[in-house]
Symmetry: C2
Subunit: 250 residues, 2 copies
Amino acid sequence: MQQNLYDNETFFNQYRELRENPASYNVLLEQPALHRMLPPLAGKQVLDLGCGFGDGCVGYLALGAAHVTGIDLSQNMIEAAQKKNPRAEITYICMDMTKIEDLQETFDVIISSLAIHYIRDFQGLADSVFRCLKPGGKFVFSQEHPLTTACSSYGNWQRDETGKCIYYKLDGYCRPGKRTVTWMDCTVQKYHRTFSQIISQLLCAGFQVEAMQEPVPTQENIRQVPRMYREYDKPSFLLLRAGKPAENMK
Amino acid sequence: MQQNLYDNETFFNQYRELRENPASYNVLLEQPALHRMLPPLAGKQVLDLGCGFGDGCVGYLALGAAHVTGIDLSQNMIEAAQKKNPRAEITYICMDMTKIEDLQETFDVIISSLAIHYIRDFQGLADSVFRCLKPGGKFVFSQEHPLTTACSSYGNWQRDETGKCIYYKLDGYCRPGKRTVTWMDCTVQKYHRTFSQIISQLLCAGFQVEAMQEPVPTQENIRQVPRMYREYDKPSFLLLRAGKPAENMK
């Protein structure tokens, strides 16, 4: 059973505020990087894993997608999406992304923005995504960077006397598994995986790795959000695009 | 011009001692991982980039390779290889690995053990390796891990009062480029690249990523070399296997 943190009212309201901030890490770093990785969406059937408020789904329609299915584990979130972003070409479904084979549909493009680090069994997910893609289909996702999910036991950043972060305290990078952290006063469970696990599990599912990004801020981003200078020491996001071969040779 | 540190007599002698230690990181961690990644070598033409004393070349022959070309930038090293590991089926050449197209030969497998972090232009190297491989050929390499090449400005490890390393001080991971470090009393220049740069540059050359490893020690390894426990916090090695498509579609 996956966690359903977004059905906690307090967390949900704080999260909504965070996501509506136009100078968030998501808006400035993660979303532009995700969009750079998308294949052409014109006429495509798209599945969005962890669709949240449906803003991504609307964006994929604007890029020409014929239809978007947005799924999210949180009933709160799905209701908010239906209110905020109703569209005839979007179907919102409250479901666990590890169960997408139950949809009994195939898609051209499966996208996930910042949800996969909540999934315990990435190999199982990658296998399901592979089976739910048409031949030649693409899996594009962002997740918290493995240096972030590693989660230092020593409090992450060392600061100097002026409060500036000078280095990141890394431990346990090669100890994959569950991490429990506090985010916006709530307890959140994430799963840490190393780079080689993520890549190996995609390859094992049958995917070809097509692109990888660890986005860094521009000078303009740092003017808007000064603490983003830290991204040059330890990035927040990892993005990957993986392709299912056009001729399924698996 | 590439550095030729191994032609410095003092460094060379210390390096030889290090490599002859049966309980080194190379012997216990890197070499087994590299061997797990090799394709079948029976009857193959192999090129070894940065062959050192030629021990790798002899190992590839033992695995059935028809012929091995071992190249190294250091004349000292090539002379030592010719003395230590002479074989009719090995050709040792003193040359810069960025110039392998001058060999005007193609190979089935190109291997490099712990030399690529000395190369400034990885994209140029990947392009050359791609062109020197036969269709269907494999490029297998180990290098210092990107968390190692990042090279903290703050001295790498934080120790507790007992001297035990408790976390790794990471900074500058997203600032690729030259790093100057001291190793065995000599100044060594290395080049830091992020994971996404390494992967992107392999893909850009036309390769498919086939396998990736960040090896960790076994309990037995840690009994032999107690300080290896640190590998679970910050690994020393990254290994990749990349394939040139059988039908060259580039």
